[in-house]
Amino acid sequence: MFQFRSSNSSASLRLPLFGGLSLLLVAATVFALSRGTIAIDWATLFVPGTEQAMQTTALLELRLPRVLLALLIGAVLAQAGAVTQALFRNPLAEPGLIGVSAGAALAAAIVFTRLDRLGDLAAWQGLLLPVAAFGGGLLAAVVVLRLSQRDGVTRMTTMLLAGTAINAFVAAIVGLLATSADDPGLRGFTLWMYGNLGRAGWGEIAIVGPVLLVLLLWLPREARALDALLLGDAEALHLGVPVERLKRRILIAVVLATAAAVSLAGIIGFVGLIVPHALRLIAGPGHRLLLPASALAGALLLVLADTAARTLATPAEWPVGALTSAIGAPFFLFLLLRLRDRAGLT
């Protein structure tokens, strides 16, 4: 299937890895654009005719923005997960630890279970929800980041503990809000919690897309510094890495990326935690391959999961956050069992 790391460098893996993932991604994207209640006939799509208008509308106004969003968010979540694991030097770390998802969930819970009682608010929930979720995510992350900085130094162990505490605290409030909510509010919130890529359109993509794209392209530039950071803060400093500056920049990038993703699509688990591990099994732990490969694989997983989410139970939708795990977990276990020896896991 893949050629594994041969003598002395990862260069031999670069082409098959990126080539294979890119081909799969293109195929998955075409597949995703083709599937849906309105069939797309690619042969006649650009030939003038009667069916054309409806097809074009379905494609350009509904499916294309949704597929683009799935690609972007999948890529960003997976890459953010990989760099978070490096920052914490912990394979179980994921961006949720910094409090972003919890803060966004609290804001969303308030919108769904409290604000809709004010009547007209429901009408502009479409705008209120992403803005509130983004703000809530940022706020919780800022609290965690501030708690873990002392004397100008960011302490990751403190951040791990502070993040866990903030997450538990926020989860408690969310639980209280949810149990005292009425049924429609609770159902809306539950659906949001499991992620949905159908809410956002071209407008949201125009605002968030460029930011996510810049983050996606910037993070791999710090790949070698992240490798060094895995040795430890002091060791990275000895290697000339400006450790504190790097950590802060990357934390800000992770927080922004995750908050943007969550605000548009709700909480999509699994991608940030497991996709990097799946790629480590294939490509090794070096970040120069891991970061771009995670982005491609994250995009691939989310675009497939979202296609399944919107087509398997039409006209209803399945929560995409549950499908990423349902599709990803068996594949990850397959990789784990097949590759653990060659990947150096004991």
């Binding site: 002395n8 060094a228 060791e235 000339g240 890495v241 150096g344």
Partner: protein, 265 residues
């Protein structure tokens, strides 16, 4: 030209870990730092490395405070090997060593860089480990790999600038043969003009290989100079709270130190 601590001090929560310590590491010199556990050897090394900032005095490289050096420029001049370095993910050994080229801003796939990595692995006695995974190695094997990483970091095509190597107990988990090999490597580096500072625990290794020795006790440097003068049995006996005797050669030079009795500390 030197890497030097000038009356440097460092404290944590009111406790003085390093007090008014001066030490200058010269190019071409193998300098050994000896002292009891908890005396401040590693703290002094970390002050010289620049990852701790002195709260008194200063640490300078070529008369310029470390804090005034850009981090990458400093990393091209001095490399550090710490105790017990571990990695959370299974990196290959040659990839770990190649991290030493990070401050030099070149691609790790370049043939010249691969040659440097291979040469450093040989020099550190780790040539056979290149395609192993770092987290599967024993403590002694890891120490040799980290030494190779430090060597690669201060390998430069033209050596107009002096480079420095700071080693925190490089021989701690090495077997008898690799301890010998390690000290010969340090001597060879010194002969090439590198200033090498090594924390050791065995005064006999210092006696045999060091150009100069410093003794440190409770954060203060209590003696500094040639091994044969600094490592006098009376001084070591007082320092370690143990009766230490010397075997001397015909000229009166100390050949071997050994302890008798039990520690009174």
């Amino acid at each position: 030209m030197s890497l030097a601590a000038i009356s440097a001090g460092y404290g944590v929560r009111g406790q003085r870990l390093i007090d008014n310590a001066s030490l200058s590491l010269l190019p071409g010199q193998l300098h050994v730092l000896l002292g009891p556990n908890g005396a401040g050897k590693s703290t002094l090394l970390r002050l010289l490395a620049g990852d701790l900032k002195p709260d008194g005095g200063q640490v300078v490289l070529d008369d310029r405070p470390l804090s005034a050096w850009p981090s990458a420029a400093l990393a091209r001049r001095r490399a550090v090997m710490m105790q017990r370095e571990d990695l959370p993910f299974p990196f290959r050994v040659d990839d770990v060593v190649a991290l030493g080229r990070l401050p030099w801003q070149r691609s790790a796939d370049a043939p010249a860089e691969q040659a440097m990595v291979a040469a450093a692995l040989v020099e550190a006695g780790a040539a056979g480990l290149a395609d192993r995974r770092y987290n599967e190695l024993s403590g002694g094997e890891r120490a040799r790999v980290q030494l190779a990483r430090a060597l690669v970091q201060i390998s430069a095509p033209d050596d107009r600038e002096a480079r420095y190597l700071l080693l925190d107990e490089p021989t701690a988990s090495l077997d008898f043969a690799f301890q010998h090999h390690g000290l010969l490597t340090m001597r060879r580096l010194a002969a090439r003009g590198v200033g090498v500072l090594a924390i050791l625990q065995d005064p006999n290794l210092a006696l045999r290989h060091a150009d100069t020795v410093s003794l440190i006790e409770r954060g203060r440097i209590i003696a500094h100079g040639l091994p044969n003068e600094v490592l006098a049995p009376e001084r070591l006996s007082a320092l370690y709270g143990l009766t230490i005797e010397a075997v001397r050669g015909p000229s009166g030079a100390i050949c071997q130190l050994f302890a008798t009795g039990s520690a009174s500390r």
